[in-house]
Symmetry: C2
Subunit: 341 residues, 2 copies
């Protein structure tokens, strides 16, 4: 069987099975494969670790890249995973696989961007590895910590902690990153500031550490960061929590700059399925969501609710409660022909 | 400037500079770029983290691979880095970048090998990432811990802790991995058990956790694992410690099976420059080395000594004290045309 037959998420599930069969009882592992990050018990508190890889020609164009932005993004996306657990990032390892004729100046630029993101999020790049490769690949692994509660369990935002009737909320605006990617790939254009803001949304995503902490403090226990798109990432929460979800089309906070670049129906599609916005999606009671809204400087929008559904579907509904069909509900690195970004 | 002009180690040094200029004071970082692993202060004790990447067609042939062995090796080489710091490994993240037509069965085999190494070394695979890529790349990042001494400093085996007059010792036998690689690449052959043992040395390296711990307990404070070859890895110690080193040719513990596969002079060359043996090289007083020898089940051989040398050379001497010239002193992923393995 080919990896593409199983798809990215099918493969990860299969590997998680394999490992649980292989691994001796891992009593100190709080969260293993299948959430934004892994969490295990430390001497005091809990350790969080996550890793993300970007491949030239797959996750970004192989040429003409602003390497400083790529450095920023490769660290910020990992910080976003730790934000989505409600943790605090601390130390990163950076691995570069690159061809021998790769420009040293470009690597230095990349590291300058890593350093900028490190300062922005309080992360120290502590080491890594550099190897030769026919294609450029950057892997960042990031570790951090979470607090423990009185009973010795870590205080976390997990994917499996949603309850039916909970509200679904997101920070910021959606679809800007996908719009910026289309502009960078000459598949769309926008005038002046709109162009700039959309490209920035794609190249310089912001990790929502403050929102993650505020959500935890408000009693929220379920979240994910929006890397694959609202519909698909909410689908991960549904699967992990054994529920379905409803998203109200008219509530989706579509990035206002998108209207300068694409048609309204396409803007909605990019907002719910575009991916790489790295906003925080969290699930909680109305009271909790309103408390988060009071605590963070970002817009916090209620976009839907969790429902009982044995099929664990995510349904996008119009103003009359009718389901809206989208051509693609998100990205899968292997199962779909479409490239992620 | 191209990466190949600077070489792997030149690039790493340049990036370390860039980061030290970029990073705000990282008071809790004990060891950053330039050792086997990074080390930072935790609530109790110190955290150690390391990462290693293997690229198909660069670090191993792209086809006909025993994937289970590759899984073993990709974790064992990281454990070896933590052994060379005197630490204890705990949790690993595994990132796979692979083409969509890659076989799922091969990925499962790879994970079975990761699981075997995990059980052997007490490591839990806690998560990771799977992405699409035109070429197969596996990155393992591994975290663990080190103890703190009474003054709150971590007890570590570092590269920069050698003193002139100290002895240079290695565990096990050298050159077997390079011999096995030559057999796998049909550049050499050996009969029966020799063939098997040499291939095993290449595909199933053993991380020397016990030797690392025994060295620490004996008071040793300087070590490295042999990934690039004795001459080159000892060179890293010389650079970090500001010393030179002498290696006595007749003391090098050449893998006894090598004589079945290659000529004697080639066996010596593979033993001092072949790479990927993952034995522990450590530096200490005679008393310390003898204590380590008493404590571990492996052979422990004194192969040379640290000397004052402003040029920080590693010299291989024959029985009459004359320097022996080798064609290549080790591997550099970029600076040399030769592939590492």
């Amino acid at each position: 069987m080919k990896v593409s037959d199983l798809g990215e998420f099918g493969l990860i599930a299969r590997l998680a099975e394999e490992l649980s069969a292989q691994t001796a009882a891992a009593g100190d592992l709080f969260v293993g494969i299948g959430d934004d990050a892994a969490v295990w018990r430390g001497a005091e508190g809990a350790h969080i670790a996550t890793t993300d890889t970007m491949v030239a020609g797959v996750h970004f164009p192989g040429e003409g890249l602003p390497w400083r932005d790529l450095g920023w993004k490769s660290l910020a996306t990992n910080v976003s995973d730790i934000a989505a657990m409600g943790g605090t990032p601390e130390y990163a390892l950076v691995t570069l696989a690159l061809p021998g004729d790769f420009s040293v100046e470009d690597v230095i630029e990349l590291y300058a961007g890593l350093g900028e993101a490190g300062r922005a999020y309080g992360v120290t790049v502590a080491g890594g590895d550099v190897v030769s490769s026919p294609v450029f690949v950057i892997t960042v692994s990031l570790s951090g910590r979470a607090d423990l509660d009185e009973s010795g369990q870590p205080r976390l935002l997990r994917r499996d902690a949603a309850s039916a009737g909970d509200l679904v909320a997101v920070t910021g605006y959606l679809g800007g990153s996908a719009g910026g990617l289309r502009i960078l790939m000459n598949a769309a254009d926008a005038p002046g500031e709109a162009r700039e803001r959309l490209i920035e949304a794609h190249l310089r995503p912001q990790a929502r550490l403050d929102a993650g902490r505020a959500a935890l403090a408000a009693g929220v226990r379920c979240a994910i960061d929006l890397s694959d798109g609202l519909m698909q990432d909410l689908g991960h929460i549904c699967q992990a929590s054994g529920l379905g979800a409803t998203v109200w089309r008219d509530k989706v906070p579509v990035n206002p700059w998108l209207s300068h670049a694409v048609a309204p129906d396409q803007a909605l599609r990019l907002a719910v399925a575009g991916g790489e916005d790295y906003e925080l999606l969290f699930i909680g009671t109305e009271e909790q969501v309103l408390e988060v809204r009071r605590q963070v400087a970002l817009p916090v929008t209620i976009v839907g609710e969790m429902v009982v559904d044995p099929q664990q579907r995510v349904q996008l509904l119009d103003e009359d409660g009718r389901e809206v069909e989208l051509l693609a509900a998100g990205w899968d690195h292997f199962a779909r022909g479409e490239r992620r970004s």
